[in-house]
Symmetry: C2
Subunit: 762 residues, 2 copies
């Protein structure tokens, strides 16, 4: 092929045979094209034909020799060239007297073939280059803020407690248990709890006079920080000091505090919170265990009326618990006074099960196997009158029932309301677990390389847009949930009676929202780490399986979301009711005003980057969605009721809608809190990076709900597309700070423990 | 209050105090309203005031007595009445001489208060009724078709094999292993595999002359049916007979078949498939293990060049494997000939590890702990020349490399292509696991009762719309995937060379799509079963954790979706290239024609139920989405390339888009196959119920992608809302057949094993 223009086809032929086996189609494209070219002689054409015969492929050695021929043309320039450039050069190296006309023909002919073959011309040339740098390859972690400053903001006023807990957890005695023997694991978790109790952490929330610190805020911080470690420990801790201890504190009175709280706090009296029964988990108002009052000896007799009324899933029951706060229907003289609470011994101090009590082990669970969940049956277990937790109801000297709350229903929900703290502790624990997962996955993604440009080095997987898309929004969510949970905590700490229903709904909602986010975050992180994510040593196993039940306990998430929505609707219907005709008119006018301002084409089609990234746009969109979706659900229900439908059926019909009512409400609160937290920051660099995360949370949430905004006419397609683009761009930008952002969680390496989270070089 | 009109307020007061503690607001509403009423005397007004004093609530006994007073009025009628009706009746019982005018005033006054308080009047009355039936309460399972007939359709021509496998699995020896000791579990799984091998199931896919049945279709059916049992067994089975055995069959030649296949099939030669290395899982082209050819003694020396080039996650390696198909770069005279495959002994027949081989245990994993995954290092392990699997490349007598495929790249992917069967077996296994989960969750949901209308019985949770919304779409997806996987299987069985790339992409895509669907299905089923779902005895633990890695092995799902999209794009770009200017014009015109027909307001706003449920609408929407999204991705990439961007960067920028390209392609195929399967059914009842499932799959998928359709202008908001409504309605309708539909999977109770899946009565 020396001194032949046919040589110009060599690069194309090489690429065609090298990347792939040449197909019949490709061969025909080349054959047909060259047939009409007059710069090739019949002999040359026939030579080319022989090189594209798919029955007769070139040998490996042939390919190698073609490559050797082409290389000088490639190396003749440092410029970024196309395959056609190389081809022309290849010919010119040998012949410098080719006519311009011929060259032109040659050029167009080559371009034509390349196009028809679908060759990306400026990419193909890299098949010959030694090094191939790209923007994607060269991207990397580049912190733009001081990590320590962010950690301080996250820690807030609990810095001291958090550091203390971390210090304890980093002791050698807290090394993770690796045994698959459940009894060994339970023993270890109990031992850990005892150490924490000894350090005074268990009684943190109790009054000072009973050995505590009267500091529930610190208690939450402890739960959260413990969640960087083994979650069985967190739950065992929470059962003992939270559920068991706080039930005494919230539902009992002075005499109970004196008798029990100190022993609960130092773990010399392990106990249970025995509410859930097999047949009643969500609908606890319908619990069936009975506590029958005996006038003569002033005692109660506790009974499990039938098999499915047994207490189930009770933490601390299968192995360690000596007493339990039992939720049971109080019966006096055959009359039912609703569900009340009683302290019932289940084991003596030696650990022997007391008479009348039968305990079964719940056995192996998906996770949390360090917690000894059990099943309890009561058969004529007699307890003294003073064992009734009597803050909200009691039995007087004459054996009469007395309570400041006349409604059994309301009394029960007031009692439950005092336990709302659990619904704050759980999501905070969940969010911490999600932080662990993100730390591991993001650090791994920053190190792990796979694939890369042709003849280039392999690229850290976190540089891939799709990998960023998988992880960055969860990073934003976890930060968002952090600030929202701080807000819920503060609302709870400074609550007054009139706010209680709102705070309960808020806590219930944030519990559901956060634990679902944790579920999804850990799942995505696991998958983002591939096979490494599947090995137990990298901790996704424990993180995923332990938090799995967070969406169920302390209230099933779906039930809670319904509850939140109903709370919102009842607020709305009070407004709605009060408004009557004129009010209704004003409400509609208010809506219309919104529409006038925001539903005009300038707004709905505004794809200006500045506008898309503007917090005011985000805040308004979230507020609008919350209001509008609530109103539309309200109207739907009203319409159904007005048509004469039973309200139970009507609420069932709109259930799917109600989940979105709750979601919109929560997302609005979360965004507001995240935004407020960013606003408070002085440090410019920090404000910038957290601001981006906040925008990502906002835009990613809008993207998730895009169809709703489009249906409403709040945005048009061009705008939701612009939102999607902005999400991609924010993910790309945040990637540079992703590692610093997880490092700000400041989870000690010993607790992370995952080998893949520790930098490796090979 | 005798003979007083004030008595008419009693029902409202009772409801206000009973359901809730009366709030300041509520009290004020009542006070203000009655103030202006002239049908109440000042004394009556003052009496009412005392009853709404929030500082002085009525006692429990007061409430009880009010209730007793109200009951006669409630029981006076069997009609469905409002609270106002009851109030009026209450007054009329005592006084039948009240003037019409006064009654009217009374009526409006009561209505006014109720409205302001937000009381749902016809619901509140149930607070006094004994029984409260609703549509929701009375809904139940009501099969409309013959289950057995559907099972036969699902089994197709593999009925015999499926029944045989189920029969074997129901033997007492296949009782699930409950030990948490991994070694005990591994031993059990190996024992099970040996039984299956003895029954001749292992060698099903091998040629008859080597003890097989030459029936790969049956092999897939076996894998699928085994997946109703322990999934460690499935994977161990798949590693031995699929990966290890089929690698010999697909990559080796006669001499290897003769020497190994029989022993592999009867499990006397346990082996491994050693491809993945620590540093290269997805990008297997870059594997680093070396096989250096030694001319003198005609051997290869196998080496692990550095720590991170060790073989990792290798099934059968940690405990049982005696040989392995090792993927390694072939080096002859210092030249690299790309990745080839070699049979390398790793243990002798006594189980002792051979010299030069080091094996580590991968340790505990999230799931599949019955499979002994291990890590293998090679140090100067010498194997004879004939151990090279030489179907695609070999070394001739002169020590020269020869291959019918000149490109190293292409040769490698051709080798991988022959192993595509694994990407069919895995999703079929995953789909079977999802069937188990759905069977358990749906049967439980049909039995489990929780909450209910006021004073009504509790309702089966599957009657709740949101519970249906959680499970019915997955039921539809699993059926949809079943038919699509049958299609992929048939395409694979009857493949020819020119279709291979398409079939590879199809299998890769269906592997990703199905395993993600399984992940989501099991997750939702677990949550839908609450605490019961968390107990290992109900099998979500194993189902979830064992299938967890399905999204990773046999190709990471995200990487596979990218691969599918690139395959689609390369098809598109060939078209695109060939089209050139005129072609491009025609293509745009084609698009426009679609727009003219389907983007006119009659279509985009058509909310007619018949249209929404019309299969033609669904099929067109899916087809349109596939085409349009592919074209737009193609155009985006072209634009980026034309702007001079490196193609590696360009493809990175559109990665998120590419996932949707793959998804739209797969969903279109799945819908077509599901639809075709329904069309083939003769039985009217069966066709009707499967048709509904198919529509649910279609509409739920459209709903999921609603924002895209809205952005395109393919539908307007009214239409996507109508789609949502139709999804709700289909879920409601299918619920009656949900139990029969999972019973059609015909999973034996012994294999389901979950106690909650077995009907209980209390």
């Amino acid at each position: 092929m020396k001194n032949s223009l046919a040589k110009a086809l060599l690069p194309i032929l090489y690429i065609s045979w090298r990347d792939d086996v040449m197909t019949q189609d490709q061969s025909e494209i080349i054959a047909t094209t060259i047939q009409s070219e007059d710069w090739l002689s019949p002999e040359e054409k026939s030579e080319i034909s022989s090189l594209i015969d798919i029955e007769n492929p070139p040998s490996r050695a042939d390919l190698q020799s073609w490559r050797d021929m082409i290389l000088p043309a490639v190396n003749a320039s440092d410029e970024k060239e196309t395959l056609t450039d190389v081809a022309i050069k290849l010919v010119l190296i040998e012949q410098n007297n080719i006519k311009d006309d011929t060259l032109k023909k040659l050029y167009f002919s080559l371009q034509n073939i390349e196009k028809k073959l679908g060759i990306i011309s400026n990419e193909a040339v890299f098949a010959f280059k030694e090094n191939h740098g790209t923007i994607t390859s060269e991207y990397a972690t580049e912190p733009s803020f001081e990590i320590e400053k962010l950690t301080e903001i996250l820690e807030g006023n609990q810095r001291e407690t958090i550091h203390l807990v971390k210090k304890i957890l980093c002791r050698p005695s807290f090394k993770y248990e690796e045994s698959t023997d459940i009894e060994v694991y339970r023993e270890k978790v109990l031992k850990w709890c005892k150490i924490l109790a000894k350090e005074g952490l268990g009684s943190t929330a109790y009054p000072k006079e009973y050995g505590g610190k009267d500091n529930i805020e610190s208690y939450f911080a402890i739960m959260e920080t413990l969640s960087y470690h083994d979650l069985s420990l967190v739950i065992k801790f929470g059962v003992q000091f939270g559920l068991w201890g706080m039930s005494i504190h919230s539902l009992g009175t002075e005499k109970h505090y004196k008798k029990y709280l100190k022993k609960v706090g130092n773990l010399s009296l392990p106990g249970c919170f025995a509410m859930t029964e097999t047949n009643h988990g969500s609908n606890v108002k319908a619990l069936e265990t009975t506590a029958i009052y005996n006038h003569i000896n002033k005692t109660f007799t506790i009974n499990t009326p039938h098999q499915f009324a047994r207490k189930e899933y009770i933490g601390n029951a299968a192995r360690d618990g000596q007493m339990a706060t039992v939720f049971a229907k109080l019966i006096i003289d055959g009359k039912d006074y609703g569900v009340n609470t009683f302290i019932v011994p289940i084991r003596d101090f030696k650990g022997n099960i007391v008479e009348g009590v039968t305990i079964e082990d719940c056995g192996k669970k998906m996770g949390l196997n360090g917690v000894d969940n059990g099943i309890i049956y009561f058969k004529n277990v007699v307890i003294p009158k003073e064992n009734m937790l009597d803050k909200f109801a009691s039995i007087d000297k004459n054996g009469k029932f007395t309570s400041p709350i006349s409604s059994d229903n309301r009394r029960f929900f007031t009692m439950l309301g005092t336990l709302v703290g659990g619904r704050i502790g759980i999501p905070r624990s969940a969010n911490a677990a999600a932080q662990s997962a993100l730390t591991i996955a993001i650090k791994y993604g920053d190190q792990r390389r796979q694939f890369g440009p042709q003849n280039g080095t392999e690229v850290p997987i976190l540089n891939y847009r799709i990998h960023q898309r998988r992880l960055m929004p969860y990073l934003a969510n976890v930060y968002a949930c952090h600030f929202a949970l701080q807000y819920v905590t503060q609302r709870f700490l400074h609550r007054n009676e009139t706010e209680m229903q709102e705070i309960e709904a808020l806590a219930a909602g944030m519990k559901a929202y956060t634990t679902w986010n944790t579920r999804d975050t850990i799942q995505e992180c696991r998958e983002a780490c591939g096979g490494k994510g599947y090995l137990s040593e990298n901790r996704f196993d424990a993180l995923k399986n332990d938090t799995e039940v967070y969406t169920t306990f302390e209230g099933d998430n779906t039930v809670l979301m319904n509850l939140v929505a109903k709370n919102r609707l009842s607020e709305f219907s009070k407004q709605f009711g009060e408004m009557d005709t004129f009010g209704m008119f004003n409400y509609v006018m208010d809506q219309a005003k919104t529409s006038i301002t925001y539903k005009n084409p300038l707004a709905t089609r505004n794809t200006d980057e500045k506008h898309i990234l503007d917090s005011n746009f985000h805040l308004h969109a979230f507020e609008y969605r919350e209001k509008e979706i609530l109103a539309s659900a309200g109207k739907r229900i009203k319409k159904l009721l007005d048509s004469g439908m039973d309200s139970f059926d009507a609420f069932n019909i709109v259930q799917h809608h109600l989940i979105h009512v709750a979601q919109a409400y929560l997302e609005n609160i979360i965004l507001k809190q995240f935004h407020a937290a960013v606003e408070k920051i002085d440090d410019v660099n920090l404000k910038n990076v957290l601001g981006k995360l906040c925008k990502l949370f906002a835009l990613h949430t809008i993207e998730k709900n895009a169809s709703w905004f489009l249906e409403q006419g709040y945005m048009e397609g061009v705008k939701t597309k612009a939102v999607r683009k902005a999400v991609n761009q924010l993910c790309w930008e945040i990637r540079q700070n992703a590692v610093p952002l997880v490092e700000a969680f400041a989870i000690p390496d010993q607790l992370l423990s995952a080998p893949i989270a520790i930098a490796k070089k090979n």
